[in-house]
Amino acid sequence: MATIVHAAETLTAGRLPRATVPVSLVGSVLLGYALAILFTGGANIGLAVALAYLLFLLVMEIATRVVEGPRQASDRRATNLVVGAFVLALLPLGSLVWEVLSKGIPRFDVPFFSQSMRNVVGAGGGAIHAVWGTVYVTGMATLISVPIGLLTAIYLAEYGVRNRLSKAITFFVDVMTGVPSIVAGLFAYALMGLLLGPGSRSGFAGSIALSVLMIPVVVRSSEELLKLVPNELREAAYALGVPKWLTIVKVVLPTAVSGLVSGVILAIARVIGETAPLLIAAGFTASMNNNLFENPMMTLPVFVYDSYAHPGTDVQAYWDRAWAGALTLILIVMILNLAGRLIARRFAPKTR
């Protein structure tokens, strides 16, 4: 009979002092910085950070292995690698936010939100026409996509469970998810051309293009959420003699509503920054346009693209406006996300 050989009979093991992590982190940073200067003769921050991270990994590995043992060493190695990857992933985001904030703030002022670009060639002017355009076009796209997407999801999750039609719908929805946005724009442009005569651009055409992109997102997220509603609740309603459609309207949808709302908000956030389809379908204009169905309508992504790609005589003024437009777009998406969370919390089923 084999016996298990214990490495040591005690239950205690060596522990590194608490200060080890911060001390070795500071040490590695200083040493990495010094090495970077030594190698390149100048302060190369990227190299210094990379060297510091490698040094830190090495120091912690040796210290833990000697004092605490190999099991804790691999635990710490994994932790350090995961944290390192996380920081690396956050760097572009932080840099992006910093760039947009620092370059967007100078023109993030009252005229930017009170004037359009009508009769403006140099400095001054604003993006009010683009802000409203984005609100109109995205709002209309939401009005088109949510009923279609939600009803499709209800069919898939409640009525056509695994029948042929629902399999076909799921397949085509997946195909639609992969449609390049420029194709959606061309589709909307061609459709409006057929209906209203060639070359017609309008905010509504932009809404149609965005709906093509938005519907599959709404369908997939809503379908998943409806499937999460426990079957027991449906059975409870059926057992009370409630017809199927009332069960869906009054039990299934209210139970899933918080998730449905966040799904819709995420879908809006996904399409609000689309540039290519709006470039084709909604077109450019320098003026305010309150009519979705006639004449081109400016939107924020197109405004940013246009200001950056076609600066007039005063290049800096156009670029400043472009960054302010980008900042506005990021803020709108952020506000949408916050609103989505608040709504989700407001509607979530309470337990106490």
Binding site: L233, R234, E235, A237, Y238, L240, L246, T255, T351, R352
Partner: protein, 259 residues
Amino acid sequence: MSKRIETTDLNVYYGNFRAVEDVTITIEPRSVTAFIGPSGCGKSTFLRTLNRMHEVIPGAYVEGEVLLDGENLYGPGVDPVRVRRQVGMVFQRPNPFPTMSIKENVLAGIRLNNRRMPKADQDDLVERSLRGANLWEEVKNRLDLPGSGLSGGQQQRLCIARAIAMEPQVLLMDEPCSALDPISTLAIEDLMSELKEQYTIVIVTHNMQQAARVSDVTAFFNIAGTGSPGKLIEVGPTDKIFSAPDVQATEDYISGRFG
């Protein structure tokens, strides 16, 4: 306010698979009938055919007839929704609606069906149903709090209150106590003996002592083996089934020789 159920040669299928074979049974009004038997013997499936709840599962269908006071539940033109308004059901796991308060849960059958009712009548119905389910004293001060905040046993009694608020003719209970502790189980068993004054009660249980305690009639279901359909082996007064059953298999099951 209770009706007799009679089935003749009832077969239940899930697609090509025959789950229950040739059940002929009469369930008397104002009594508790218990279905016992090993797992997978079709007693829950059979129970669900009594209010057409098995139709929720795609591919399930029934051959034969179920008569509710002489009216065939599977006759042409019968609306399953109307059947379920007469034959209520309580499930194995308590399933109050999470988006509704205690009061709304009791009124769910009214509200979900878009029926209008004066507020005073609603309050009456809530109190009557909760008293009927022995829950009124425990929740009367928190009727507007969510039903999912109650304990498991209270939630199950809330589900019973919800079912009897519809004033059904028959109450089906699918292992109503299997997720509950002995105290809550006792509360629900007491409730069953009160409810049988008014309703026809059918209960599926794995607990033979429970069947012996609460039921007037016991029906024993069994299967020959995996893949073969469940059959009704024997039905009779509970005293007789538990003391001198006619069939050897029933005695073996009850005395714990198998299952």
